[in-house]
């Protein structure tokens, strides 16, 4: 009995190690490669023989334009997230707390749009934006991004609002608050963590967007970070600058990884919202 129990524990530890390795190994490889010198970039040792920050220094070179791309990403993802949260908070409150006709239909429609193939709206919007001169503008990236960020925000917030005890609002309304006051003074403060988590999840979704940003821009100064990194060119045309691509990849990913590590419990709750009912 004890030997089987020992075996089980051992097997479980092996499983945990396997899962952690599976998840982290490619990411670790990106980090290690970004720290190698250009001369030993094809080295396959697990630890770089000599750590070099040359790849990172190259990114901060203004000629590369990577800082501008990061700023573009921040602007596009930031505005998209703010707009989506503003609209979604009200809608999600109605979904979670009010009774009205076609509620299920409305929620189904909103969720359905988040599963919509982005390319189906990018094609007609590219033509429209070309005609009205919106190519290489922030709004040309923000407007299409709303199509998948807004439903995500509504769905997440609806789940968070549903989890909050109704008694608090009811007590406030018995004490003479209107529904609006109860929403402002009771719901918003309590829901702040949920709204914050939704903000992180929607921000990550908007930050990671590639297809829209690729299609709607052709000027390097307006490209977002993922598009700019994919277009990095090396010293010669046939040489892909893997070192600086990996360094840029680390820079783009690390803020997200930090957010994920700090708020992991909330993010998991937000991501699995609605999956287990």
């Amino acid at each position: 009995m004890t030997t089987t129990a020992k075996w089980r524990t051992w097997l479980l530890y092996a499983g945990v190690a396997a899962v952690v390795t599976y998840c982290l190994a490619p990411f670790y490889w990106m980090l290690v490669s970004s720290l190698r010198r250009t001369s030993d970039i094809f080295d396959t040792s697990l630890i770089p023989s000599s750590v070099s920050f040359a790849n990172y220094r190259a990114l901060f070179d203004p000629a590369q334009g990577f800082m501008r791309a990061l700023l573009n990403s921040l602007i596009v993802a930031g505005i998209t997230t703010t707009l989506a949260l503003l609209l979604a908070t009200f809608t999600a409150y109605a979904m979670a707390r009010l009774e009205f006709r076609f509620k299920r239909l409305v929620l189904t429609l909103i969720i359905a749009t988040s599963m919509f193939p982005v390319v189906s709206i990018v094609v007609p919007l590219l033509k429209l934006f070309t005609d009205i001169g919106w190519i290489n503008t922030y709004q040309a990236m923000i407007v299409p991004s709303m199509s998948f960020v807004l439903p995500l925000a509504v769905w997440n917030l609806t789940t968070f609002f549903r989890q909050m005890p109704e008694e608090l609002e009811q007590a406030a309304m018995i004490d003479g608050c209107t529904r609006g006051q109860a929403f402002r003074k009771i719901i918003i403060p309590i829901a702040a963590p949920g709204i914050f988590t939704t903000a992180i999840i929607t921000f990550i979704a908007a930050w990671n967007e590639f297809l829209i940003a690729l299609t709607m821009t052709n000027k390097p100064s307006m490209q977002t970070a993922p598009v700019a990194i994919s277009k990095f060119t090396g010293a010669t045309t046939y040489e892909t600058p893997f070192g600086s691509q990996m360094a840029a990849g680390v820079l783009v990913t690390v803020p997200l990884v930090v957010m994920v590590l700090v708020f992991q419990r909330r993010i998991v709750a937000g991501l699995t919202a609605g999956a287990a009912k």
Partner: protein, 355 residues
């Protein structure tokens, strides 16, 4: 609790919710005037709160879809065969774009169609297998749970575009994949190995997501069910097949549906890992984007419409045939599928994964 003072709809559990659903109809005499008034008012508030979102979605989703439908019936600008002048407007060509897709341009379309389908079936299949295994390990693991949860979120947080470049580096001819294999494979050139590269990269990034959703499903299964099964003599395999799988099925179905719809629109990964206009990995999204960026809007729109219909049919199939419940509990009473959902304790915070 003074339940008479609470506006109806807030505590809708049971027939009151159904009454709220018909708020717009003349007040039912039995319910009393006050209640009907409150429900109508809440309907107005709801309309006010929901309409901005619906308006935005109409502008960014519905309107472009209708535009795509219309656009797919028009051909490219070019020489007018009658006058010989260059036309400034696009000529109406009817269903010609669709006829071309299934005729003249058929090879490229069917190739992209089968690539998309192949990627979806294989990646979602592998992801489900790996994801469920991960979830079972995480569910059992008591030490190291925080570590495992943190690391499982990393592949999800890495932008797909960046992961495409990362795997392009790993699959480089002198890269680490070949070093481990001890064998030179030109992964990023045309051929079946390119498909394998895309599948590995995609599965790496998204299996943890299925793992998380399944874990959430596992954590709401009460321990007593397993104890009862053990007493009745069920082995570990029997327990997994007869208890775990059926009870996790709703969560798993939603996860698989979402993954399928996401895989059907795959673009970033094959585009960056292998490249544009590569037959081995070109998906429908890549085909439509390629045509649009070459200013061939008519065919591009036709491809977009076909992809949209394909996604729609798959989603419909999941919801109708397999009963995937995407929307979840909206507070109104269930009509038909009550027994399978109500069996678990429907705590409002059951969606939260406890640590």
């Amino acid at each position: 609790m003074v339940d008479t003072e609470i506006p109806p709809g807030t505590a809708a559990d049971g027939p009151a919710g159904a009454a709220g659903g018909r708020a717009g109809q003349p007040a039912a005499p039995v319910k009393g005037g006050r209640r009907a008034w409150a429900t109508a008012a809440s309907g107005r508030t709801a309309a006010l709160l929901v309409s901005p979102t619906l308006l935005v979605l109409t502008i960014v989703v519905l309107y472009p879809t209708i535009m795509a439908l219309r656009e797919s019936l028009y051909g490219p600008k070019g020489l007018d065969p009658k006058t010989g002048f260059i036309t400034t407007t696009e000529p109406f060509v009817g269903l010609q774009n669709y006829a071309d897709i299934f005729g003249a341009a058929g090879d490229r379309f069917w190739n992209a169609f089968w690539n998309t389908t192949f990627f979806t079936v294989v990646t979602v299949g592998l992801e489900t297998l790996i994801g469920v295994t991960m979830a079972l390990i995480m569910h059992r693991a008591f030490s190291g749970r925080a570590l495992i949860r943190a690391s499982i979120l990393i592949p999800w947080a890495v932008p797909t575009a960046i992961s495409g470049l990362l795997w392009r580096w790993i699959f480089n001819s002198n890269g680490v994949a070949n070093a481990i294999l001890g064998h030179q494979v030109l992964w990023t050139t045309e051929g079946f190995h390119a498909k394998v590269a895309v599948i590995i990269a995609e599965v790496w990034k998204t299996s943890p997501f299925i793992g998380l959703l399944v874990l959430a499903g596992l954590q709401v299964i009460p321990k007593e069910v397993y104890e009862a099964a053990r007493i009745d003599g069920a082995g570990p395999l029997g327990q997994f097949r007869r208890i775990t799988l059926p009870l996790v099925k709703p969560a798993l179905l939603v996860a698989v549906l979402f993954r399928c719809l996401d895989a059907l629109r795959m673009f970033d990964l094959p585009y960056l890992l292998i490249g544009a206009q590569k037959n081995s990995v070109e998906t429908l999204s890549m085909l439509a984007q390629n045509e649009a960026s070459n200013v061939r809007f008519g065919p591009a729109a036709a491809y977009a419409v076909i992809l949209f219909l394909y996604v729609f049919l798959i989603a419909l199939g999941f919801v109708r045939l397999l009963g995937a419940d995407v929307v979840g509990d909206d507070g109104s009473p269930r009509k038909n599928k009550s027994n399978s959902k109500r069996r678990r304790a429907p705590g409002p915070d059951s969606a939260e994964v406890s640590a």
